[in-house]
């Protein structure tokens, strides 16, 4: 059985991928944000490049900041973006 997740991108992550969001099905053995990132990297060259340096990326699951080790569980939305620069 696979799981469905909406992934939204912001700032240069969005620009470099060329899209604002994906709705994906991912394998059952993928349980954490870090594992999902590895799965996304295997899809295509652009994802592989954009997600390569994880120190330049931040993540939010269902609109809460999380780390790479966060379990996706029943979350419905993952956001991937650079460190924030508001104010």
């Amino acid at each position: 059985m696979s799981h469905q997740l909406s992934i939204v991108y912001f700032a240069w992550v969005k620009e470099r991928l060329g899209r604002e969001q994906d709705v994906i099905e991912y394998p059952k053995n993928v349980t954490t944000v870090g594992e999902l990132l590895k799965h996304l990297q295997s899809r295509d060259a652009a994802s592989n490049e954009v997600f390569a340096d994880r120190t330049k990326l931040r993540f939010a699951l269902d609109q809460d900041f999380v780390g790479l080790d966060a379990v996706i569980g029943s979350a419905t939305e993952l956001a991937i973006f650079p460190p924030v620069t508001g104010g």
């Binding site: 939204v8 912001f10 700032a11 240069w12 939010a60 609109q63 900041f65 939305e77 956001a79 973006f81 650079p82 460190p83 924030v84 620069t85 508001g86 104010g87």
Partner: protein, 145 residues
Amino acid sequence: MISIAVQEHDFDAGAEINRLSARGGGAISSFVGQVRGDHKLHALELEHYPAMTEKALRGIAVRASEKWELHGITVVHRVGRLQLNEQIVLVCTCSDHRQNAIAACSFIMDQLKTIAPFWKKEIFEDGSENWVEERQSDLQAAKDW
């Protein structure tokens, strides 16, 4: 009372201060951030994560209201394209005492810079663009509270 607004249009800092000061208290502190015109900057483009922005800003304001005795907090943050010297952000706090109002205002700005989902893109006079990177000094300031 916590008031949060994320909007494209400009804000009237004086009106916001008056609205908050009507809640009483002897001290109102406010901070306005505006677009700084250095390095031949032409404009700033501010992007945000709509589903998360208000939740993040409210979370910061709630933490401030737990740390200091406050009558109210107002946060207004603009998004979209902003020209030089335009206002970007307003934080306003109202308390019985100066120290609480100033400290809470400063705390909210420091936290906002590191955990509110906004991203700034610089657009220069020659047409080139650059996403602003996070600053270590901002991270340190947010941690120091």
